[in-house]
Symmetry: C3
């Protein structure tokens, strides 16, 4: 049983996601369809790119990811299928795959041009239904992907703002805020260990004009309501308030800076 | 692998939808269950009827649709199974199927009366769990539908307000607003082509005291923040604001009028 | 086809739930995964315990329930697998299983200690991904559960506040409010019949300084906007406003008292 994974900004109040599944099962009934997320803020390609990056490696080999966060739908933005050594990615060429592909081995990039595999009539506003879902289903059915269009050799990339290291200080920023209000930074534990490795309790973290002392291992090391910095489940440094919402309590937003120094 | 499709107003914060799936898989483990939508506004039969109408034809032949938007649960409203040439529809007789059945070939209408196929004890408040889910599962298992109750020959219909054509003007209304704030009218492209066919750029669309010029093909034909009229993915004329929420920006609600004229 | 049931407070705006499914399908592709609920209020163990109690018996025999409402993740709270005569329950030892287990026959309680079956590296913040999902998948694969850790003989229990009967009056409280605003009490129909059985129309129900007369059978026995008391689908007495939200209209919250007397 193979797997198709759906990632969209369609929400759950309309027929959009259900219809995509109907299209898929109409073409290939024996497949597991997983909802990765449908609550991406409307048109927020960066958030979709982060969710995909944080997730894809946990899915079975040969999974097909269908990503439809697509404000340019119907325009001349390209429609892509990207095959890596482990997965297939289907969706618009707007950068949504770029964080994921940074650490993947790309085998082929196909621009989807052959409408033989599309649903007719093709709407101009719902390529998730008419193009991307059928393509995913036909991949599961084993159609040779060269039939879907023409091989090309590039895809759109999002800028990835890496943290900076300067004068014994790491300067990063908040790139995501999860449902719990945890503040996810762009500083990975690997970056930290490379540039500024000291004992965990010797770090000073500055965010929103507050200083937090030390990096901890798990939430309940601090008291309820206290701030804590730890390595989150995606390998990035995160700022949390135990049993509360750090984004609200610290009044911190996406793109706000975070600095890491060490004690003297 | 056959398909059961669920459409309810149960939301996702309680056990209701999960329990329906538990009941189904307890009776028939080899079936794909698809969530069409569970965020229908509470008791809003019209919205559920529209979601079903916009969706059903994309699902595999012989899919069983279980629709539970059922403010009359436990009263003497009938419980129905409607078999068309392609699908099965199970739910309360409150009009929720009517837009879908307008363009379907009905084979049989069964009033569900045989409690042999229901879950005991039968609650008065959750027929989705106790009656409609088991019936759907037994259909998948191949039970002859005549066992479920008595054949009848009518079902409740919702009024469908068609647009009017008068003095070279189409007068329609907004019948749905999707997650993106797009305003979906009751004017289909077929109706438009029949009564008022001109070049796409010769239409004048009046909504909420604003005039929009021309019908476009895709969102990004206009600039961010500008209004646009196009044929949506369900074949109806829709009013959008590119990269914004038309319902909010134009202050337009369901049932508000929309007029279409042509330029002199 | 066996069943894994997921119950979390992860919501649907991030990658958490999707990733758990990816992990499961990577280990065992032929399994039905059901979302019981992911909108448990953050860290609300009691609500999760109620949702599980109201649901579990409707799922197929041998279903594996993975419950991740886990504010103590990463601390020394135990990680459990509880096998009953019908089901498996996997999650943190924080009381979330206790209402369900009150009426179940426990066969074995295993403290999960053998990291051979966990995902590496093990994060300190996402045991749903790294520990509980893989264990559930390996149960489906038929691994002997004694391999997962050590048998123990207790689990954490939540207090269950039963109603009181005193001076011909039942004193209960509201323990849950569902999506529709229905107020679910801790007074079961069995408790009522045992201590205060009279004709249905002879009850007086007092809640939020209002008196409601009689227990009804279904919502539409009263007019739109009127309060009604009936036996809900979980067997508990519920207070509703027909076609409206009782919690808002009656200004009633969880833990508010409800009294039942009989007419003279």
């Amino acid at each position: 049983m193979k797997t198709i994974v759906l990632l969209t900004d369609f929400g759950n109040q309309d027929h959009f996601v259900g219809v995509m599944k109907g299209v898929i099962y109409s073409i290939t009934p024996y497949v597991n369809i997983i909802d990765l997320c449908h609550e991406i803020p409307i048109g927020n390609i960066t958030k979709a790119a982060l969710v995909l990056k944080n997730s894809f490696k946990y899915f079975p080999k040969e999974s097909v990811f269908v990503v439809v966060v697509d404000p340019g739908v119907g325009s001349d933005r390209k429609k892509l299928l990207i095959k890596t050594d482990k997965y297939y990615f289907v969706g618009p060429d707007n950068g949504v795959f770029s964080y994921t592909l940074e650490n993947s081995k790309i085998i082929k990039i196909i621009e989807l041009t052959n409408d033989k595999y599309w649903l007719k009539p093709i709407s101009n506003t719902f390529h998730g239904r008419d193009i991307f879902s059928p393509i995913a289903a036909y991949i599961i059915n084993g159609i040779n992907i060269m039939n879907f269009g023409n091989e090309i050799n590039s895809y759109k990339r999002l800028p990835f703002i890496n943290p900076e290291f300067n004068k014994n200080e790491i300067l990063g920023k908040i790139i995501d805020i999860d449902k719990f209000g945890n503040l996810i930074s762009n500083i990975s534990i690997d970056f930290l260990n490379k540039y500024l490795k000291v004992n965990k309790d010797k770090y000073l973290i500055e965010i929103s004009n507050k200083i937090i002392y030390g990096i901890k291992d798990f939430y309940s090391e601090v008291k309820q309501g206290e701030p804590i910095v730890l390595v989150g489940s995606t390998g990035m440094l995160e700022v949390s308030i135990y049993m509360n919402n750090a984004s609200i309590i610290l009044d911190t937003k996406i793109n706000d800076p975070i600095k890491i120094k060490t004690m003297l």
